[in-house]
């Protein structure tokens, strides 16, 4: 009987503590739903990787590939007129990569059978290496699909075979056995193409074709990371790791702040502050200042270590601006969380959950490209993401003041909104 009484009482207490109940029941549910979305989103209709596309070749073939890229659901492409524009988009973090269809693309594609490799280039944001691998696969697949469609497109096939024959004529002397064999092969391919196009009406470009042909590799995707230094020398990996670390450190200060309010309430000292000659606004300002200083210190500490490990600061004023705005934004968030950290247990729950969610939607854990579009929109409001962008902007992305306005503005804006909500909802007794 006593055992049952203890069990029942524990459950009742859990249900009374709203924050604890939330994290026990509702949060795992939301979490599971979140991942369901993520995994479903990975297939069709999911989030797309943002890319810029530059067509340097300017041929029919290259145009065909570009429109394939644009049509692909895994990519969200925007065309750029020149390399500089594309590189700037990468640098500002607006797109993950710049895809370049280089001069000579069509020519190479047409002489594919004679060993020419189809060249493609991608310039990737150095902080998003994980997504670069996916991009390589995607581009290879698209180029393959082009080729396989060529087999059933009579005129394109003929064009290609003609190209290969011409190339063969220039590289191998007449009468050589290899050349004979290749000529035969090309004739065979011609016949195959003829046959395929006769039986037309089939939608031949399915994925099976591309995976069957994957054995030989005529597509050469050259991936390079964007070099931001004027010198072009490779950046330190600390440049990418530490801005993430900073965001986590900021999250830590936020949680500390939220639970400090909860514990002051429990201890009764919040009451004592409330009856002191300070206004409630001043008390919160004092608390916020404490949190702000912590946030700045965390960032300074991490940046100092990053520099010791090889990072070089691109622009001190921009970095200072980023540090300031990130701290301010996270202070606002802390204030917004404080009313929900009713007890210290609640604060601990928030400590576990909020960073996880924010990091996930902010691109900290799962690359945004793998998320459904809804989360991408959500992530645009995540201070986690913008703190990283701002700090990277000052550290190595070479942001100008104008470019800094976006992340800093969002950080300050979200911070201000959260702060206002927190102040209105805070319980003092």
């Amino acid at each position: 009987m006593g055992v049952l009484a203890i069990a029942m009482n524990d459950i009742r207490l859990l249900l009374r503590d709203k924050a604890a109940a939330f994290f026990t029941f509702l949060f795992p549910l939301l979490f599971a739903m979140f991942f369901t979305f993520v995994f479903r989103g990975g297939g069709g209709g999911g989030g797309a990787m943002k890319v810029a596309v530059l067509d340097e070749d300017g041929t029919r073939g290259s145009a065909r590939l570009v429109s394939e890229i644009e049509a692909d659901s895994a990519l969200k492409a925007r065309r750029v007129a020149d390399s500089l524009e594309g590189r700037n988009l990468v640098r500002r973090g607006e797109v993950t990569a710049l895809i370049i269809v280089p001069r000579g693309f069509s020519e190479a594609a047409d002489s594919m059978f004679t060993g020419g490799q189809i060249p493609l280039e991608a310039v990737v944001d150095p902080s998003r290496g994980a997504e670069a691998a996916m991009l390589t696969g995607k581009l290879t697949e698209l180029a393959f699909r082009q080729m396989s469609s060529a087999f059933t497109d009579r005129s394109r096939m003929q064009e290609m075979l003609e190209g290969s024959r011409r190339r063969l004529a220039t590289v191998a002397p007449e009468g050589e056995p290899g050349r004979e064999a290749f000529t035969k092969f090309l004739d065979g391919a011609d016949a195959l193409s003829q046959e395929l196009s006769r039986r037309s009406g089939d939608e031949s470009t399915n994925d099976a074709t591309s995976s069957d042909t994957a054995a030989f590799n005529p597509v050469n995707v050259k991936v390079s990371t964007l070099a931001i230094d004027k010198t072009g020398k490779p950046r330190s990996s600390a440049d990418f790791a530490f801005p993430q670390g900073i965001a986590w450190g900021l999250m830590g200060s936020v949680v500390g702040f939220a639970s400090s309010i909860a514990s002051e309430r429990r201890r009764g000292t919040l009451v004592r502050l409330a009856i002191s000659p300070l206004t409630r606004g001043q008390i919160l300002a004092g608390k916020a200042l404490g949190c702000f200083v912590t946030c700045v210190l965390v960032q300074v500490l991490l940046l100092a270590v990053a520099m010791a490990m090889g990072s070089q600061v691109g622009s001190w004023p921009m970095l200072a601006l980023a540090v300031f705005c990130a701290a301010a934004g996270f202070v606002g968030m802390a204030m917004g969380l404080a009313p929900f950290a009713d007890s210290e247990e609640g604060a601990a729950g928030i400590a576990r959950a909020v960073p996880m969610v924010l990091a996930m939607i902010g691109g900290g854990t799962i690359p945004l490209a793998f998320m459904p579009p809804f989360f991408e929109t959500l992530s645009s409001a995540s201070p986690f993401k913008w703190a990283i962008v701002a700090v990277e902007g000052g550290l190595w992305r070479g942001f100008t003041l104008r470019e800094m306005l976006v992340p800093c503005g969002i950080l300050l804006g979200v911070g201000a909104v959260c702060f206002a909500i927190g102040v209105r909802r805070l319980r003092w007794e």
């Binding site: 004592r272 409330a274 002191s276 000659p277």
Partner: protein
Amino acid sequence: MLVRMLELRSIRKSFARRGSVDRLVAVDGLSLAVGRGEVFGLLGPNGAGKSTTIGMAMGLVTPEAGEVLYAGLGSPSEAAVRGRLGVAPQSLAIYDDLTGMENLVHFARLYGLRGGSLTSAVSAALEAVGLADRAGDLARTYSGGMKRRLNLAAAIVHNPDVVLLDEPTAGVDPQSRDAILGMVRRLSSEGVTVVYTTHYMEEAQRLCDRIGIIDHGRLLALGTVDELVALHGGETLVRITRAGGAAEQVIRTTDPVAALRSAMERSPPIDGVRIERPDLESVFLSLTGRTLRD
């Protein structure tokens, strides 16, 4: 004559109740005035509304109706007015992870003290509550009585004009209690107005210039101890036992001396006498029909 320092004008406060549409009225149109330099006791049983009343007096709780006014200052909802008040909440409000000294320095700073005056105010407050020798220890290592005294020191560290103490002697031993009461008397002699809640009536009787008795959020009686006893205490009981083992005789009278004198004229001779004068307990009993500490 009473120079008013604090005035409560028909203040009212109610709370929502779990699972009920009716609200719990904690303070129900309470009015009273406290004079400058006076030690005023707010006496009532558990749940009478003492803390809620003090809460409104210190500006923590906003009255639903009525107002709280400090003479020459204004309402405690203004920060500047709160700066002249010293408050010791019923539940301890100190930082366990700070030393006694650090606690007081922090609170004194909130009230604008700086530099030398801060240092001397802090040591004076520590001295006043008898914690000077433990000032460097963390508050978490203090005994219950010491924590309560630190809680009190935080209320007086900035030399306030009015001190509001909510059950400052709850759970302390007689020695600590004497120290606290001595401190209250000293404050009063320095012209500080003290409002003090308790449900220990001996304490109220010893200490307070005037007492307000409240129950269910209403003021039942107000006056000096003598006034209250004379008005509401009822008659004195004279208990007489006589030689020969007869039953105890109980005389109710307003004039015990005369009653005793006439009893002595009768025989058998008196063996023993006990005179029970009415006290605050009897006042409370006659006002509410129940004892103070039930």
